[in-house]
Each structure stands twice: as C-alpha cells, then as structure tokens.
Amino acid sequence: MNKILEVSHLTFAYEKNLILDDISFEINEGDFAGIVGPNGSGKSTLIKIILGLLKPIKGSIKLFEKDIRHFDDWAKIGYISQKAASFNSSFPATVEEIVAANLYPKIGLFKRIKKEHMEKVYEMLKIVGMEDYRKQLIGNLSGGQQQRVFIARTLVSSPKILFLDEPTVGIDMKSQENFYELIYKLNKTMNITVIMISHDIGVMTQKANKVLCMGNKKLIVHDSSSDTKITETLAKIYGDKMHLLLHHH
C-alpha cells in the first residue's frame, strides 16, 4: 500500500501554548481516517500544519513521500475548512462560478475558462447531486447544499486526498447521512483518501478504517491492528464527558 501521508515527531505551539507534543502517524492510499477529540485538542490545527498553513516547531511531514516544504502539487489535495459553512453568505457568485474557481490554478494565470472546464464543473456537480442548482447564488442555498457545492469545488481539481474539518456541523440528520454516504462513495469508488475531523464518534468508528484520537497534546491511532479497545482511549481523552457521548449512540 502506498503511504500518502507520513507525520513524524510533530510538535507544534501557538506562541508558547503547546498544542501538539511529538505525534506520529501514517495514512495509506484509500484510507478513510477519522480524527476525533474534544474541543481545543488541536484537530483543526493538525490539518492546517499538514497543509502548510502553519509551521511546526519540530518534526516532519511528508505528502506523497515528499517533504511538505518542497511539496507543490496542491491540486492533489482537497480541503474543506471548518468555517466553510460560515463564509460571507451574501457573496454574489453562482454555484457554477464557485466550483469553477478550483480549476483556476490549472488553467493558469492570465488565461480564460473554456467550455471543457465548465463540462467538468457540471460533471462534479452531478456527483454531489447539485447540478440543478448551478445557476443559483451560493448564498441562497441551505447549509447542507453549500457543503455539497464545496465538495464539488474540491473534486473538480481531481484530488487524491480529501481533508474535511467538521463538514456536517449545522446540517440536519438526514442530510448528514447522505453526506457521509457521499464521502464513503468517493472513498470507495474514486479511491480518494479521506481524512475527516468529526465529533460524531459513532459514525467515525463505523465508517473509518482508522481513527486518530487526539487529546492531552497526543495522538493515538486505532485501526484493525490495535490491541486496545477504542472506547478505552476515548474514555481517557474525553474524561467524564465520554459517558454522555456513549449514551448518545
């Protein structure tokens, strides 16, 4: 199996506030990895470091076996941030215009969008089931629909790996289910590696073949080869709150 992401001995702090203390893990091609952990445990921070948006103090990160400091094939990486759902909702752009935006780097500076690009946009909107909304203003869609559009925007540049930061926040139960189905489908049929932050521990332990548990500045990986039970680790990182969470599901 191909190693697609390799994080080793990563340490990170905001100013003097230590967030991640010497964490290591690997993600293989085709993995569906869930990241769980309490608020403030550094989940979003970890993804931002991997994407090169924040600089670590120590440790190394390799994407596609290349150190991120020299990595430049960003079209391979898709990212949907935690705040994607709370963007400027009156932004005057259509669904189609937003999705096409991710093709810009490929089209290149100073060049114009062509018909074949718009066909690709249509194709991706179809995958997420939003093709009928392509002429609508993005602000007029519901949160769940917007999230689908952002998925299409990411897919249009043919990513190999998809980072999702709490993609289902503020989305109703039914749409959440559909959303997880969609991501699952992308993972299985298009072989896109998925790394998803979620507070939905029930779903993560079901769908993901790897669960990265974050807490107390550390990260513990759970997959089929782990000896300890995931509930034990979760109890440790969540403390008392875990009882509530387990009752939930």
């Binding site: 994407l51 948006l53 430049d72 960003w74 079209a75 990486i77 990212y79 941030s81 994607a84 963007f87 400027n88 009156s90 932004f91 005057p92 752009a93 259509t94 215009e97 937003i98 935006a101 991710n102 810009y104 780097p105 089209i107 500076l109 100073f110 114009r112 969008i113 002429k135 203003l137 925007r153 540049s157």
Partner: protein
C-alpha cells in the same frame, strides 16, 4: 455637435471620466467583497499629501501622487504582514501618516491653493492633455491587469485560504492589487476629487450587489452604474458649474436608492402575488 463637446477641455474630461468609470467599479468590486474599503480611504489620504507636495515642488501633482500612493500601498502590505491579526491597524497607520504629512505640507504653502480645491472635490476644467495621456496609459494597464487576474481575484475574494491552498499565488497578487488601487485613486482624483474617490469605488458595486444574479453580472452592472454616474455627473456639473466629484457621487447615491426602492416594490408584489 452638442455645445458641450465643442470644448477641448470637456472632451478630455469626458474621456477621462469614461476611463475612470471603468476602473473604479472594477477595482471597487474586489475592495467591497474583500472588505478592504478602508484601504481606499487610507490611500486617498496619502494622495492628498502627494498632491500638496507636487504643488509645492511645482512638479505634476499626478506623478508625485502616483509615487506617494504606490509607496504607501506597498507599506500597507508590509505592515499587514507584520500585524497579521490587526490588519486594519496597518491601514490606520498609513492613513494617519498620509494625513499628517498633508497637513504639514499645506501649512508650508502658507495660503490654501485654489488648485488644491480642484483635487479635493474634483474639477472637470482642469484635466490637462498630459493628465489625459497618463490616465489613458495607466488606465489601460489597470484594466488589462484586472482582466487577466479576474478569476484569481474572484477566488481570493470568496475564500483566500482555499485559493492559496489551490495553488494561486495569493501573496504576489495581493501586493499587485494594492498597487492597482493606488494607481486608480491617483488617476481618478482629477475628476472625482480625493475626498470622494472611494465612494465611486463602492456605491456602484453596492447598487449592483442588490440585484446581481452572478459575479459576472455584478461586474457588468457596476460598470454600467458607474458610467451613468460619471457621464451624467460631468454633464450636469458643466451646465450648473458644480463640483464634478459631488455631482457624480450624488448620482451614484440616487442610483443606489432607486435600485433599493425598485427591489422593495418587486419583493412586495411577489409576496402579494403568492
């Protein structure tokens, strides 16, 4: 030929006006959507110091202002990086410095120069042919730049982080964009006046945002509204001997109010219909 077009100065004013009414909304869209309207104000304050310096040194105020405002634009970008979490602070610092220098230079001129008023409020009778050449030349540079960077600027306005991650060179484009803002302000001050330039950048965009169906239509409508404001404004200020900047901006305000009113009426009808 109508009387108004018989004078060379009016021909120059109208030509300059048409160019400016293309530049201001084009730049304005990105300023509004990226919530950068304070930058326009800051660079106008710096422009004022450039104008006074030009008058004092007896060099073309347009050229001096161009140098001042582009330098200030680069300064803002530099400071923005230093105060990443307080981006407005960078703008305020430059704005204060620009205004302070302007006030000191004005006090050096001893008397308030009549020329200065023209720059502050806009004066169509003062577009010299050398000014027109500069406006034409740099105006084309700005327009081509926006045209070529249109899709990148669009993406950055919507989501700068995602744009950077997708591989768009956002840093370089940011610096270049602020320079374009500085140039646009310098070119526009003859017609619109320093005090009102940022209004011409913002009002037509604000009006078109109310009714636009896509980003493309925002762009087109903003230009249409700006053209109406500037051309009509110049004609009215000629016949009634008014300051052109005030007239132009007042028309923009009327357009905005009309758009809002029409939109309201249509919305009320729709509700009644249902």
């Amino acid at each position: 030929m109508p009387e108004i077009l018989q004078y060379a100065f009016m021909q120059r004013a109208l030509l300059a006006g048409i160019i400016i009414a293309l530049l201001c909304p084009l730049i304005g869209i990105f300023i509004v959507l990226r919530r950068m309207s304070l930058i326009g104000d800051a660079l106008s304050h710096v422009a004022l110091s450039g104008v006074v310096a030009g008058i004092l040194l007896k060099i073309s105020p347009l050229i001096v202002t161009l140098i001042f405002s582009v330098t200030a634009a680069l300064g803002i970008e530099k400071l923005r990086k230093r105060y990443e979490k307080y981006a407005e602070l960078a703008i305020s610092i430059i704005m204060s410095a620009g205004m302070a220098v302007a006030v000191i230079l004005i006090s050096l001129t001893k008397s308030i120069n009549i020329d200065l008023f023209g720059y502050l409020f806009g004066n169509i009778t003062t577009v010299l042919s050398q000014d027109l050449w500069l406006i034409l030349l740099l105006g084309i540079v700005v327009m081509i730049s926006v045209f070529l960077l249109y899709k990148e600027l669009f993406y950055m306005s919507f989501d700068e982080e995602a744009a950077a991650l997708a591989g768009i060179p956002t840093r370089a484009i940011n610096v270049y964009f602020v320079i374009l803002v500085a140039i646009t302000i310098t070119l526009s001050m003859r017609i619109v006046g320093i005090l009102l330039i940022s209004s011409l950048m913002i009002l037509p965009v604000a009006a078109s945002l109310q009714i636009a169906k896509s980003f493309k239509s925002v762009t087109i409508l903003s230009i249409v509204f700006a053209q109406i404001s500037v051309i009509l404004g110049i004609i009215i200020s000629y016949y009634f001997e008014l300051a052109s900047g005030g007239t132009i901006v007042l028309i923009s305000v009327v357009i905005l109010l009309t758009v809002l009113a029409v939109k309201n009426i249509i919305n009320i009808r729709k509700i009644n219909f249902k």
